[in-house]
């Protein structure tokens, strides 16, 4: 009896694994054009930029473009870029979390509608959107007229041509990404787990802190990193909504290429941005690895 029950299961396993092997070979063939495309259009230019950043005016190897980039005014631009990106990531995570949480709890029809409302502004040119914000946030804009009319303390606020303005602008640009990522993760949370926790007597706060938050944590990491990385290279909004102190690396690169014809220096900045992106990915990877290690340590004991 047991023998007859086991035999067909074995056959089935063998069949599927054979099928899987066949499939993966086909998948490899399918991947060839993409790989070639990426090598030509992505890896090759990056190597080009890298070699450009390491060449002096005479063509000899030098690190002075990097030394330049990491000193004086250039360094402060770099620092403010990272700061603005971090602030944007935090702000878009906060707003995105609330928004995604609300959408994840909606009925599918309304959720789709809400997602549309979040994403559609993204189809409009970033320039147009930024000017929209400028109109909204100006001294006589909607926000400030509203604040003055209700006699809010300190109104009117200066919301433009400073860091607040930049972060408001970039956050609105990054919001769709964070909402999309977070909403996907939140949809995946099994509501019955939360009900089970409630069944054991957990309060809403405890359920949120001990069950919900840990389950969506990977999404929070991904969404935060995504908006941070996207913001690092972002250009239009900081240029239009920021002041002198909100010059970002992207603007600096543009200046150097378009106005000063200093390609090597621009390439160095580009490489630094790339390294910052990798650093961001590294931090996320480290966090996951440490969690995995802590887990392994617990299982060992």
């Amino acid at each position: 009896m047991a023998g007859t029950a086991v035999a067909p299961a074995k056959v089935r396993v063998r069949k599927t694994s054979a099928l899987r092997g066949h499939r993966s070979r086909i998948a490899l063939v399918n991947a060839v054009p993409v790989t070639v495309f990426l090598l030509v259009m992505f890896v090759y230019p990056i190597i080009g930029v890298l070699s450009l950043s390491l060449k002096g005016d005479s063509g000899a190897f030098t690190l002075h473009w990097y030394a330049d980039a990491l000193s004086g005014a250039n360094l402060s631009v770099l620092v403010s870029t990272v700061r603005i990106s971090a602030e944007t990531a935090a702000a878009s995570l906060l707003v995105g979390f609330v928004l995604a949480h609300a959408i994840a709890r909606m009925r599918p029809v309304f959720a789709a509608l809400a997602m549309l409302i979040v994403v559609v502004p993204h189809f409009i040119s970033a320039l147009v959107r930024t000017y929209g914000w400028i109109i909204m946030l100006g001294e006589h804009g909607l926000i400030n007229s509203l604040a003055t009319s209700v006699h809010a303390p300190g109104a009117p606020y200066s919301l433009l041509y400073n860091e607040t303005g930049v972060v408001i602008g970039t956050t609105s640009v990054m919001l769709p990404y964070t909402v999309l990522v977070l909403q996907g993760v939140m949809r995946g949370v099994d509501g019955r787990l939360l009900a089970a926790a409630a069944g054991f007597g957990a309060s809403r706060f405890t359920i949120f802190r001990r069950i919900y938050l840990p389950l969506v944590a990977p999404g929070i990491g991904t969404a935060g990193l995504l908006s941070f990385i996207l913001c690092l290279g972002y250009y239009i909004t900081p240029a239009l909504m920021g002041g002198d102190r909100q010059t970002v690396v992207a603007a600096l690169i543009d200046q150097q290429v378009m106005q000063q014809d200093r390609w090597n220096s621009a390439a160095a900045f580009g490489v630094i941005l790339l390294l910052l992106t990798f650093a961001g990915l590294g931090v996320l990877g480290l966090a996951r690895w440490r969690r995995g290690k802590a887990h392994a340590r617990r299982s060992g004991s």
């Binding site: 019955r192 009900a195 069944g199 007597g201 957990a202 887990h295 299982s299």
Partner: protein, 388 residues
Amino acid sequence: MPEHTTSLTAGRLSADELAAVLAPQSSSSSGKSLSVTGLRKSYGGTTVVDGVDMEIAAGEFVTFLGSSGSGKTTTLMMLAGFTEPDSGTVTVDGRDITRLTPGKRDFGFVFQQYLLFPHMTVAENVAFPLQLRGVDKAEIRRRVGETLEAAGLSKFAGRKPRELSGGQQQRVALCRVLVYRPPIVLMDEPLGALDKKLRDQMQSEIKTIQRELGLTVVYVTHDQEEALVMSDRIAIMKDGRIEQFDTPRALFERPRTPFVADFLGAANFLTGKVEDGGADDRTRVRLDTGGVLTARAHPCVPGQSVRAAVRPGKLRLVGAEKGCCTGTVETAVYVGSLTRVTLRLDGADPGTPPLRIETAQTPPRVGERVSVTAEREDVSVFTETDGG
């Protein structure tokens, strides 16, 4: 009560051990009684639960048995507090808990989907209810350790649930409930996702723990055998109502409705008219196919149309023309310990199914004419008002 101690030795989990670990600390380990009156629930005009009343004694193992859509899970969810009833009350030891949230009821829940927290280790999962109850850390560690030890899960304490097999996961789910010793445990098809062998083993483990701790368990299943093996009493549900709430033996031997007779095991239904319903200990039925069948007493009047139900195993073959009904053997299939016979009765409508008989007697040949009879105690009679 069926026997289930034999399979215990086969199980790696020592249910006795687990019970022993949990019992000493719970001086008031016995479960609480549960009482349900007039429970109703409908969704958008469809009545799912239509007036459930039952009294469950402390320490009793009660099962809701029914096909899908019979309202058994909805009833359980209303007991649990996850679903709010439209009307009716649920009381525990006389205290009304109908409007309490699940967490305030202090019940234990075990679900078919285990619902272990995927981001927590096995030990953390089991510790979770204790942490919510403010038990101090050292005590939590001790109790979690003991519970997992007794369940044979110690070496998995640091693993995540997804690294465990289905059976192990369900054991963790069980530990997570038993560790805080709720007086009443509700289980919704907890073994539904396990294979047959593991299911048998877990059945006896759950039953042993329940009995030794004196837990009150309310269980939901669509598996008849599981219900029969585990339950003190079974509530057979159909269309949101309890058809019959009784011990397994009573359900089997004295079904109160035709549905119950046919649902548990199988039954042959023979139509006829009451010939003599006056006697207090029996009912005589003149069958439509001719012949008279004597059944247990049932309230009815002479001349009334009734259906008599007899289980295939309770029909005895006798020589032609000697029993209550006679027919021609259509099939006779030997299935090991007994032979399954189908009999086409003389005078039966061509549309009616043949009589099913299970016999250990010398089997008849196909085409042979035989007659059958049944003991009075094995024949139930149902009138129109007993339902379909």
